[in-house]
């Protein structure tokens, strides 16, 4: 259970560019929900993720995970229970380290990074199986630097790494946006599989309306720091891409675009 309560967030406070994005913003996401979030640029989708992860400060309000207030926790402390995949595939992996080393780092999340050997040899077979299940041939490239993999391969690896240890939340920040359509499709299917297998509560920001409609158990649409559409269950099932497109157009007319 994730709760955002009475969040206020103002950018450039005290300057001519002052912009109040969130005013008394509230959101609650239940255990096991897979929420897709759409909205135009500047609607506050990424800001919302950053508020959850602690990447930006807020003026007012609180963030709760399963009832515990984490508002005052630093970003790295929050990430102990959160996994995050970014738009840029380079952000989720270490380019100069090889696949096994990258997976070893992810595998040790939440434990001590002391002076024991970095790679646990007993886990290598498990890594190989996990990679083989992707069908990308990564299991044969385990000792080459991740920097020489393609964007799609890296994003797949980033997704595996983010979900390798038990986490309470998975945050997907437009994680298919930098990929070609075919690879994006593959990563999206992989995401759905992992989320269902591991039953992770997930928030996915996307610009792809089709993904937002066909994946997930709940859909939010954001506009100027507010949630203007919140559908789940059967209502979500019935949603069509055209419905959302129409809503998008309505908003645009309101704003005068």
């Amino acid at each position: 259970m994730l709760e955002l309560k009475h969040i206020d967030k103002t950018y450039n406070a005290g300057t001519v560019n002052e912009h109040e994005l969130f005013h008394d913003f509230n959101l609650s996401i239940g255990e096991g929900e897979f929420v897709s979030v759409v909205g135009s640029n500047g609607s506050g989708k990424t800001s919302m993720l950053n508020v959850i992860c602690g990447s930006i400060d807020i003026e007012k309000g609180s963030v709760l995970i399963n009832g515990t207030d984490i508002t005052n926790q630093k970003d790295f402390q929050r990430h102990r229970r959160i996994g995050r995949v970014f738009q840029d595939p380079a952000k989720g992996t270490c380019p100069s380290m090889n696949i096994v080393e990258n997976l070893s780092i992810a595998d040790n999340k939440g434990r001590r990074f002391g002076l024991s050997r970095g790679i646990n040899r007993q886990r290598i077979d498990f890594y190989r199986e996990t990679l083989a299940a992707l069908g990308l041939g990564l299991e044969n490239k385990m000792d080459i630097p991740v920097g020489s993999l393609s964007g799609g391969q890296r994003q797949a690896l980033a997704l595996i790494m983010a979900t390798l240890t038990p986490i309470e939340f998975l945050i997907l920040d437009e994680h298919t946006a930098a990929l070609d359509p075919k690879t994006a499709e593959l990563i999206m299917e992989l995401t759905d599989r992992i989320v269902k297998e591991k039953k992770i509560t997930t928030i996915m920001v996307t610009h792809n309306l089709r993904y937002a409609v066909s994946y997930g158990s709940r859909m939010l649409m954001m506009h100027q720091g507010n949630i203007i559409l919140d559908k789940s269950g059967e209502e979500k099932e019935k949603l069509q891409v055209d419905d959302i497109l129409n809503l998008f157009n309505e908003i645009s007319i309101e704003v005068g675009n």
């Binding site: 992996t93 380019p95 080393e101 070893s104 780092i105 040790n108 920097g147 359509p181």
Partner: protein, 331 residues
């Protein structure tokens, strides 16, 4: 022969410093100028302790820990007070100038005739007669290899993995639930510990400390790292740390040849600087770095970029949008 030996000796002493610079420059991507202060700090610790007839080996350990503290200071200035990396180094370098003069008590302190790690009862017994000229080079070889293998070992531990990760991609460290600032401080600490230890050994080999030893140290370190890495990058079985050691010896050899060719030894700093410039131009380290950064963004896959426009209908986001949305939090 004696020239060859002295190149080996000094090259390997400076190699320990080079290993430290390798940690900051290559692993952490942090141009650490503290080195210009921590190297003479090690020398002054050696001179101060040995001139008081203290154990020369103890001086090596003391300087190692002093260097570790110096590195922590640089790290705290950079991480906690958010001072830019270059400035943090400059502040520490300047402050350390006073510290190392105070440590030795004066700007120049010779330690002739005192026991050092190269010249004491035990060493003289082991290396007697014809072996005597090789005592220094053998001892330095042992210390340098020990430092190299210890660093290799550390970089293969979990803690070492995080050190490598923080320079590679800070986001991963945060995602793993660790404080990236803390890891940078650890890296700077190990780096400066090695540099200060190297300064301590250098003073014991040269048998004096001089306040002017500092300036240019970081250039020598960077030169060693860059020579080593660019010469041996194709040889995959060779450890990077070994490349740095060999790079350092080669660099010292170049300087020695320049002096041998008739340049006065007072021109040493100019030779150091020009040689470094030449190495930079020849290896084109900077340019390569830029290209590889682009490759990171592209995922090293040219096709990805080319196919994007076709897929835009599906809602793929053009790069410009990210700037628009990401711009606000940064401002």
């Amino acid at each position: 022969m004696s020239l060859f030996l002295s190149v080996l000796e000094q090259g390997m002493i400076y190699a320990i410093m080079g290993l430290g610079v390798y940690i900051t420059y290559k692993i952490l991507d942090f141009p650490d100028l503290t080195v210009d202060g921590s190297f003479p700090l090690g020398a002054s610790i050696a001179a101060a302790m040995i001139s008081r007839d203290m154990n020369p080996l103890l001086a090596v350990f003391v300087s190692f820990f002093a260097g570790a503290i110096v590195g922590i200071c640089t790290g705290v200035i950079h991480v906690k007070f958010k001072v830019r990396d270059l400035l943090a180094g400059i502040i520490m370098m300047t402050a350390l100038y006073t510290v190392h003069i105070r440590t030795s008590g004066r700007a120049n302190l010779p330690i002739y005739g005192k026991a050092t790690i190269f010249d004491n009862a035990i060493v003289n017994r082991v290396f007697s007669g014809a072996l005597a000229p090789y005592a220094t080079v053998v001892i330095i070889f042992i210390i340098t290899m020990l430092s190299k293998y210890l660093l290799d070992w550390y970089l293969s531990t979990k803690s070492g993995f995080m050190l490598r990760a923080v320079g590679d991609n800070e986001t991963i460290v945060t995602s793993t639930g660790l404080d990236k600032g803390m890891i940078k401080i650890i890296g700077l600490s190990i780096s400066n510990a090695l540099v200060t230890m190297s300064g301590c050994i250098y003073a014991q080999q040269q048998r004096f400390y001089d306040a002017s030893m500092g300036p240019g140290t970081v250039v020598i370190g960077l030169a060693s790292v860059i020579i080593g890495l660019s010469l041996f990058k194709k040889i995959s079985f060779m450890r990077v740390t070994s490349s740095v050691v060999i790079g350092s010896i080669l660099y010292k050899a170049c300087v020695a040849l320049a002096i041998k060719a008739g340049l006065p030894s007072t021109d040493l700093k100019m030779i150091t600087a020009i040689l470094f410039l030449v190495i930079l131009i020849v290896t084109m380290d900077r340019k390569k770095k830029r290209i590889s950064a682009d490759q990171y963004f592209d995922g090293g896959d040219g096709k990805t970029g080319g196919n994007l426009p076709a897929g835009a209908a599906g809602g793929d986001q053009p790069a410009g949008n990210e700037a628009a949305e990401g711009g606000a939090p940064n401002a």
